[in-house]
């Protein structure tokens, strides 16, 4: 058992009732993460998406949190205040069952990093309505070293999942040899 230590956990709190469906969070996220920065302001590259169905009054901003190479069995339907939501509406997993959180050109996963270099993530900065708020919570938990994949590792993992180790290795070697 590891020792318990105090940690600051950063997260984004979502108040669904305050979302007006403007999708400013998507614009800001994609702008910040574009290379070069601000070179694209394109919701389909965003790491936060508003899952939206106006006629069902459904507005759920979800951010890409984890990567999974396969979909889950989660197809539950939840009814909240008389409105039906699919389980996917609240799920931040980057999974192959939906076309969300994948770069539209490369097909590689896009993961939320809470805009690590900023004092506050861009999506919360772009949400004066107060649906998204940035919070830092102090929690006490076991001290274990967290290994978090960086963007390249995540992309590599997705390629390995898609094409298999051998094919990726062959391709890598071929390209590397060409210099």
């Amino acid at each position: 058992m590891g020792e318990k230590v105090k940690k600051i956990v950063k997260t984004i709190r979502v108040d669904l009732d305050k979302c007006n469906g403007c999708r400013g969070c998507e614009i800001a996220c994609s702008a910040y993460h574009a290379t070069p920065k601000y070179s694209a302001m394109n919701p389909s590259r965003s790491r936060i998406r508003v899952v939206m169905d106006q006629f069902n009054d459904e507005y759920v901003p979800i951010r890409a949190t984890d990567y999974a190479k396969a979909g889950c069995d989660g197809r539950r339907i939840y009814t909240i205040k008389g409105k039906q939501y699919s389980e996917c509406s609240f799920c931040g997993t980057i999974c192959p069952t939906r076309e969300m959180f994948f770069d539209p050109d490369s097909g590689l996963p896009l993961q939320c990093d809470l805009c690590a270099d900023e004092k506050e993530p861009l999506c919360t900065q772009a949400c004066p309505q107060g649906c998204l708020t940035y919070v830092e919570m102090e929690v006490e938990e076991e001290d274990k070293e967290e290994v978090k994949m960086d963007e390249m590792e995540l992309g590599m993992k997705a390629l390995l999942d898609k094409f298999g180790v051998q094919k990726v290795a062959d391709t890598f070697n071929r390209i590397a040899q060409k210099g």
Partner: protein, 655 residues
Amino acid sequence: MRYAEAGYNLEVDLSTGNIERVETDPKLMETHLGGQGVNAKIIWDRVKPDTKPFSEDNLLIFGAGLLHATPVVGCNRTSVNTINPMTGIFGHSCMGGHFGPELKHAGYDRIIIRGRAPKLVYLYIHNERVEIRDASHLAGKGPGETTSLVREELNEPFAQVACIGLAGENKVLTASVEHGYSSASRGPGPIMGDKRLKAIVVRGTKDINIAHPQELFELCLRMKKWINDSNGCGDWMAVDEDDSFHHNNFAWGYSRTRIKNYWSEELQDRWTHWKYDNMDRQAGCYNCPKGCINVISWPGTKRFGYKCYGKDTYHMAAFKELDYTYGMLGQCLDWGVDSYSTPQAISLGIELYDSGVLTDQDIPNFPTDPGERVKFLLEKIVHREGIGDILANGSWWASRMIPGAESFEHNTVKKMEQLPIKLGKLNPAYYLMIATGEKMAITQIEGSFPQDPIRDPVKRKEFVDNWDAAPYQKFKDMFMNWEKRDQISIEDTCALTDWNEAMHYIDDSTGLCGFVSSFRGQFGGQVAYSFNNVPELITLATGMEMDKEGLWEICRRNRDLVRCINNRLGMRRVDDDPPKDHWAVRDPELEEKLLDAYYDFRGWTKDAVPTKAELHRVGLDYVADELIQLGILDPNEGTPAQEAAKAEEQKSGGC
């Protein structure tokens, strides 16, 4: 590299099924910006004056604004233009929501639709992939069902959908195009129906290049917060429950009856409960923090969204209360009818029945309760059944089709219903705007200069000192010297009409919403966008040099072009005429003077056609040439003032 624009149009011929992606001329952005500006240019070039609205040759254009898909806040209104079958002239129409930005991300600045499909179809666009697909299973379905069905069958949960309901399919002239809780009225609904195009489904994942992205992004992030916090932006009717203005001042029924002391605290309290007890949320449009759309779940009806005065029109037509309208709007949205013009066509029908012009033979089983009557006629109109088949053409046409009905029709301009406003003394500025505007709704013409003077000189000065939206000092001086509503010089009236209109022409070409721009400034002056900052935004987005004067010049060009399209379709001075009873006290002499002065100001002839010199000035020589060739414009004719001077000179024999 193209900035702010996608650089391509999507050309769709529904008759042949031909689809083309056509690169556009970058110069058009410099001359017309985008949105309605460029749409008008295309309609001038390609829709010949003998084209009937309901013909394969009429175009239906969904145009994204120049600043769509940039971070500019509150920029999301899509211009939908065609020849409006009700008026027979250029149809001005636009809708909020998410459609235009999505279209830009799909790689197109606009969709140009011509022809007519052999059966009901919908158009599916995902970037370069474009398909015309069967829509027979969507026939008769409302926007809610249509949207979810197409999203599901295409596996496109993020696609944006614009569609028509049953009214559009049946070519009801007051039908609108529906997109979420936004809609485009005044023309495109019935044209979409005529083309047998049920829906357009668009999904885009491509980038739009921006000339100075970081500066624009940072500026917009600041503006977003400002707009969110500002009381000077958005629809104040979403938050202010005192709606005495419309109920005490606008006319009820068939725009005949004013109930001056209608509003009361007790009523406001009751209505406020109806609203908030049944409200799901106040929703917004793409990249706008405001919540102008009230989303209501009313027992027994489909969920609906409305904004502004849209909540009043049905119960005011039926002499009922808000709960009546709430009971109607879900169905109206589902059928896809415009809530401004439709209730007036209905209430004309009721008046004709009460007057004996229509009888039980014309309307069998007509109920007695006015609320039931409105519902009864609405259903007939949407299905084009019986008398509904006539009323579906709007009140102007219906009154000409029903023997003995013409003298009853009293509230149209250029054949289209106007807001039910009946006032006392002529208001010069409103006379000019209602008479000469071609957008067929005063809310699309008025908006920057306040409607009324501020009596208290201290408060007036305070207003002027904080009035950042005023483009020039002359407007501040005008306002400082303005004390009584109808006492304003002709010269000033022309200038403020021009400013009001120009702001709308900015919005229609850039895609900005009137609630953060053209319409909202008149109430409080603290609006987000004006001639003082839009040029900078255009420069940052497009890289094109722009200043106040340059922007005004483009507005003038776009304004002249719309006028010329309509001149070519037969419109003249005689059509620049408000409803006869809009004001009880008219002043024909002053009205003629106002028109003359305004035409002078605009560089239009006495018969309301832009002069050759004016068209040369705005770079529309090719338009002048055609108008001259068609005999619509005399190349030697000047403005009324020049003509008067010429006549004077001839009288004196010259010197």
